[in-house]
């Protein structure tokens, strides 16, 4: 087993931001427009604020027990049996997200640039990268994320900037969309947008500066909230809300509009180049989460043999939904209601349990 490799906090930040922003390439802006009309971006913002609250519990837990990831913490607090159950829940969580993301990203590549390729080929390519990356450890993935980070950000900025000629800021009015109450309701239900932050719980022991864990997660969450909100708003002001709620991949449509003079037209394929990196890093992180949650909750010392098996499992599960619409529905509306329960609810419960445990310890000794 390789020696202890540590992740720098900047690299971890980039990884987490990519994890939480990758979904803008899928149907997320459309889902938000469907739920909130012109105030879709507000739903994202409010969901982000709610998730900040949820993050607080996760971060304090990690600070209280440094050098341990959330699975080990749960085993420590709740005992071996309950901890294993919690670990299994995490494992299922990561597994579901990985499979659904794999399916959605593969579909997005097929729809946007490779219409005739069978989905298994694209999934296999992704899986190959995931396997190769995970076998080398999470540090490699974070380094790659940091390496590509600025370019991905630049791609966002270029996409949004160059589609500004078609944008009209007034399309965001009426400002309250469907009304304040539906907005609040939907944003509370959809904090799953930022539930990927739980990966911080898994990679926390590897961060070199343990004191910076809290700030890393916080900054990454804020940055992700900003990116998600800005992109959703950008989509809404380019296509009005009725159009946006009907687009399959809004960012793809945005890049299709980019026209610079006579000769830079129809250049969306270049952006696919950069989306690929986002997709690969996102799935790499989630895949790593799957494997580690399985191996740590069952106390396995080496996770490398699991990699191939998990890859096959994810591939098969990703093919379960019959069609793309089913996948999007599952991911955005049906299953995603449970994500926040796991990624924010479980840390909350653990936090409460840790207060009791502390009190119990204090009273005993």
């Amino acid at each position: 087993m390789k020696n202890e490799m540590k992740i720098g906090h900047r690299e971890a930040l980039t990884l987490l931001v990519t994890l939480m922003s990758g979904q803008v390439f899928l149907s997320m802006p459309r889902n938000m427009a469907l739920l909130g009309d012109t105030a879709g971006w507000m739903i994202v913002l409010l969901a982000g604020i709610f998730s900040l609250i949820g993050y607080y519990f996760l971060a304090t837990l990690l600070e209280k027990y440094p050098d341990q990831d959330i699975l080990q913490i749960s085993q420590f607090i709740c005992g071996k049996f309950l901890g294993t159950i919690i670990g299994t829940v995490f494992f299922l969580f990561f597994l579901t997200i990985s499979s659904l993301m794999l399916r959605q990203f593969a579909e997005s590549f097929i729809i946007s640039i490779l219409p005739n390729t069978p989905i298994s080929v694209i999934s296999l390519f992704f899986l190959f990268l995931l396997i190769y990356g995970t076998l080398q450890g999470i540090e490699t993935l974070t380094r790659v994320a940091w390496f590509f980070g600025p370019y991905l950000l630049l791609a966002f900025i270029i996409t949004i900037g160059f589609s500004m000629p078609y944008a009209d800021l007034e399309l965001l009015l009426p400002i309250l969309g469907k009304g304040p109450l539906p907005i609040l309701k939907h944003s509370a239900l959809h904090t799953s947008l930022f539930s990927n932050i739980i990966l911080l719980g898994i990679i926390a022991p590897k961060i070199r500066e343990q004191t910076k864990t809290f700030r890393t997660g916080l900054y990454s969450l804020i940055l992700a909230i900003v990116i998600n909100t800005v992109v959703t708003a950008a989509v809404l002001i380019t296509f009005n809300y009725t159009s946006t709620s009907k687009l399959v991949f809004p960012i793809f449509q945005l890049t299709r509009l980019i026209t610079l003079g006579e000769f830079i037209q129809r250049v969306e394929a270049i952006f696919v180049f950069l989306w690929f990196f986002t997709a690969a890093i996102l799935m790499g992180g989630m895949f790593y989460g799957t494997i580690i949650s399985f191996s740590h909750s069952f106390g396995l010392s080496n996770y490398r043999p699991l990699v191939f098996a998990m890859a096959v499992l994810i591939f098969c599960i990703s093919l379960i939904p019959n069609s793309m619409t089913e996948t999007v529905n599952l991911d955005a509306f049906i299953i995603s209601k449970y994500y926040p329960l796991i990624s924010f609810g479980i840390p909350l419960l653990l936090w409460i349990a840790s207060r009791f445990k502390k009190k119990g310890d204090n009273s005993n000794g």
Binding site: I113, T117, L129, F148, R208, Q265, A269, F273, F277
Partner: protein, 554 residues
């Protein structure tokens, strides 16, 4: 056996002479270790000159081996018989005549009584500037093989090895493969001492240490390990020494630093070079000063600087000799050229075969019109042209210099113009190939160009298979591989990832006066190389940003 003989006789058309064959009956597969040259003797020097002489004759294969010469004489003042033994051609006859033979034979006057003639000779009689006394036969043999002369005196079990090296060699020449416009024009040559001296001229620091080892059991090539003692990380030096020592006995012939590179690098099968091989002493000195370690070998004009990072693809020797805006301009061009050299043909294939909408309409119509006449699909065209370009390149290296220009004409005319006229390739492809080739020459390191050349083919195939998706896949794969590569403990992507804010020399070069710390990733012993205000005459405008680097804890 008998049948074989009959057949052999039947098919011998010329004569009855037994043909030469390597299948000697006495052929014994060797043991696991390569045979040492000095192992079989197990003998040592005795006080008898005749005995020593016989030992040496048997070791060197005299009198058949005419390279080795033994000159007997008598040392007048000691009245003892002596001999020197040396290799003709490797030793300088002037030094031998005037520094060894003449003093011992002619100029030694008087009469000295002694039991240890070698000591007397060492201290009073032999005016050589580098003289070594030894009792070991091995040292004598090594010394002779290096070109020194070994002096043996009757009555002494010690020998004296006198430095008389001198042979025909190439002088210090321009570096042939790393030219710069602005900067020193001296390179290494094959002489070991000239190389180490060249580096010493740049760093006149008493702490610059040259450790000498020998590698190869039969070749006994001299190897110098240079580092600055109070800068270089001792763990790094120790590791390098450990690796070199352990491979020095396992093989019998290590010719050049390139071969050594393969023996001691971390990932020999990877496509990325993990050591910088350079022909320029100024580059070696610049790296030594930062805390790197340099390895030089005799007969090799290339020195190895290790460890290295991705800068091998991007940083050239000239970058620090030019002003900041100019060298950053060059760096920028180099960075773009790397992408062009690696990805342009695959972009072309991806666009032409998969994403045709990206091409502006007029260009597309022109390209389609041109391609209608060509029978091959675009992928075949590109592979064909790339392959022929590699042919031109390789042929250009091997071609005798007299017909050198012919190859240029042949390449340009035949492969370029005629191929287009014969409708084998389309004209836009020639442009793509030409730009790619030019871009690949911009890479400043010979090893690195191979990486790019090989990877280019991989990318072409990936692009032909899945368009931009394939290209992104390839780029991500390569980046994953690089991110994991360690060269002597230093990750290949340093200082981008892991990120060291204080080492600002990543893609863009920082100002020469704004680099107060040495590269952190080497963990050098002495961090500081410049004072904070390194242009004191210009106080208000000089400053050095000093972000705390939290990846390195005190």
């Amino acid at each position: 056996m008998k049948r074989n003989n009959i057949f052999r006789k039947l098919f011998q058309l010329t004569s009855n002479k037994p043909e030469f064959s390597l299948n000697a009956d006495s052929f014994n597969p060797p043991h696991n270790r390569p045979a040492d040259s000095g192992d079989e003797t197990g003998e040592c020097l005795t006080t008898s000159l005749a005995h020593n002489r016989k030992t040496l004759e048997s070791i060197f294969g005299l009198p058949t081996n005419k390279d080795v010469v033994i000159r007997d004489f008598t040392i007048t003042s000691l009245n003892k018989k002596a001999l020197i033994i040396y290799i003709d051609g490797l030793s300088d006859r002037n030094a031998q005549n005037f520094a060894v033979l003449q003093p011992l034979m002619l100029l030694s006057r008087g009469h000295l009584e002694t039991n240890e003639p070698i000591d007397i000779a060492y201290e009073r009689l032999v005016p050589g500037q580098q003289v070594e006394k030894t009792k070991k036969l091995e040292d004598v043999i090594n010394g002779i093989l290096e070109g020194s002369s070994a002096l043996l005196i009757d009555g002494s079990a010690e020998a004296m090895i006198i430095e008389t090296k001198g042979w025909e060699h190439r002088g210090i020449d321009r570096p042939s493969n790393e030219p710069v416009v602005r900067g020193p024009q001296e390179g290494f040559n094959e002489t070991f001492r000239a190389n180490t001296a060249s580096v010493r001229r740049y760093i006149k620091d008493p702490k610059l240490i040259t450790e000498i080892m020998r590698v190869g059991t039969r070749s006994r090539t001299l190897l110098a390990l240079m580092y600055i003692k109070d800068i270089a990380n001792p763990a790094l030096v120790k590791e390098v020494k450990r690796r070199i020592k352990s491979v020095s006995e396992t093989t019998d012939y290590i010719a050049e630093t390139g071969q050594l590179e393969e023996f001691i690098e971390d990932h020999p099968r990877s496509l990325m070079p993990q050591m910088l091989s350079t022909e320029r002493p100024d580059r070696v000195a610049a790296h030594l000063r930062e805390g790197y370690v340099a390895v030089m070998m005799a007969n090799s004009p290339y020195a190895l600087v290790l460890p290295t990072n991705f800068a091998i693809f991007l940083h050239a020797a000239e970058d620090y000799y030019l002003r900041w805006p100019f060298s950053n301009f060059l760096r920028f061009i180099r960075a773009i050229s790397i992408f062009i050299a690696l990805l342009l043909p695959s972009f072309y294939i991806a666009v032409v075969n998969y994403h045709q909408e990206m091409i502006p309409t007029d260009l597309m119509l022109a390209m389609t019109a041109a391609r209608e006449a060509v029978p091959f699909p675009a992928l075949v065209e590109i592979l064909f042209m790339e392959f022929s370009f590699e042919l031109i390149r390789e042929a250009g290296v091997r071609v005798p210099s007299i017909i050198g220009p012919t190859i240029g004409i042949v390449g340009a005319l035949i492969l370029g113009q005629a191929a287009v006229s014969a409708s084998i390739v389309s004209p836009i492809l020639i442009i793509i190939i030409a730009i790619t080739a030019l871009a690949s020459f911009v890479v400043p390191n010979y090893n690195a160009t191979f990486t790019i050349r090989i990877l280019r083919f991989l990318f072409i195939i990936l692009a032909g298979f899945l368009g931009f998706f394939g290209v992104s896949f390839g780029v991500f794969l390569i980046t994953l591989h690089i991110a994991n590569l360690n060269s002597f403990g230093v990750p290949f992507l340093t200082p981008i990832a892991p990120y060291h804010p204080q080492n600002k020399d990543r893609v863009i070069r920082p100002r020469a006066y704004d680099q107060p710390k040495r590269p952190i990733f080497l963990r050098p012993l002495d961090w500081i190389r410049q004072r904070d205000i390194s242009r004191p005459w210009d106080k208000p405008s000089s400053s050095s940003s000093d972000e705390g680097d939290d990846n390195y804890e005190e």
